[in-house]
Amino acid sequence: MVNKTVKSVTKALDGINSGMTLMFGGFGLCGIPENSILELVRLGVSDLRCISNNAGVDNFGLGLLLQQKQIKTMIASYVGENAEFERQMLSGELEVILTPQGTIAEKCRAAQAGIPAFFTPAGFGTEVAEGKEIRLFHGKNYIMEEAYQADFAFVKAWKGDETGNLIFRGTARNFNPLMCGAAKITVAEVEELLPVGALDPNQVHIPGILVNRIFQGSGYEKRIEQRTIRNI
């Protein structure tokens, strides 16, 4: 088996430079690559173009990169949980490209799958469609959207093995599987790194061929944004 293991997050991020386009798995703070984000903060790379459904909160997730002003452009579907984000966007320091959630998902999946472009109805007739090709199929209008092109994809899985096979957990799966293989280099951090042969081949969510580097993550905080309980 091909071994994808790297010993540290530092080795996992080898080759990262300012100005790169980076993908981040996660929905809100659920399933985000915590270790890789912290290492990016430590490295201090800047002028980043980030593709992520959300932008974290003020002091966690991508919010940490925003605090350090490392992000130049943010491509996201929803960014309402972050005051520093708001400040930078309104002041013009941060470029924001709001994109429908399903379109972000599909643009990642297209990059993973070697599909350069596809058509989606999401955003037809809205400002999202501005400047994009519109086409009618079976009486309905669709927008042509192109695959993302990114340098690194950072994903977080529940379990992984040394050859890069990944299994996600619950709704922490979200965008993570779609970003695997959607960038030049895919870095996967896992809660539990297992030896080859430990995962049932029938239950692997992402085959190792789509992962370039995998490492055992540590210190996961797994912060909950909206802790909500029911009264019984």
Binding site: F27, Y78, P100, G125, A172
Partner: protein, 218 residues
Amino acid sequence: MAIEKKDIAKRIAKELKNGFYVNLGIGIPTLVANYVPKEIEVEFQSENGILGMGPFPIEGKEDADLINAGKQTITSLAGASFFDSAMSFAMIRGKHVNLTILGAMEVSENGDISNWKIPGKLVKGMGGAMDLVASAENIIVAMMHVNKKGYSKLLPKCNLPLTGLKCVKRIVTELAVIDITPQGFFLVEHAPGVSINEIKDATAGKLIIPNNVPEMQF
């Protein structure tokens, strides 16, 4: 005397049919899950990647890996499944979800909806709303009839940036149930204690009022 938000949710719950897969937006739509009629079975989809979403967890059972699209902790029911965001929007775009219930800032006579952006104010983003309204065949909007400044949210034409075109089928507010028809807004039901004139006054778009308008039941 208008009805409460939970009554809007109760009224919308009556639109649920046995076997429906339903996507609930944030706010009033989320409350609809509390009022599913006992005699029918529906499943709730949350676009961040779960089908078969259950109620909020009991204290101490919150799981950071199990949230809904509003980032709230949830539970999963027997028969649930988890999936990635591409599969989730395949369900939505592919018209596999039967009913979408969401909030709105404005709805126009022809069913256009605006619910993601107020120019000059903080933009939070459209999340999955544009995907939902572009594909759903059955969209019910749950909202207040007028906004905080007292202006009608049922307009001849949306003023705010659009989320989607000609997609809303029905609107349920604290005052009325209104359908979108080729002729404009059509008054289906009035809330208890709300007069036809109150509804008319609160509706900026063209409102068709039939001879007999039943009272909303919930």
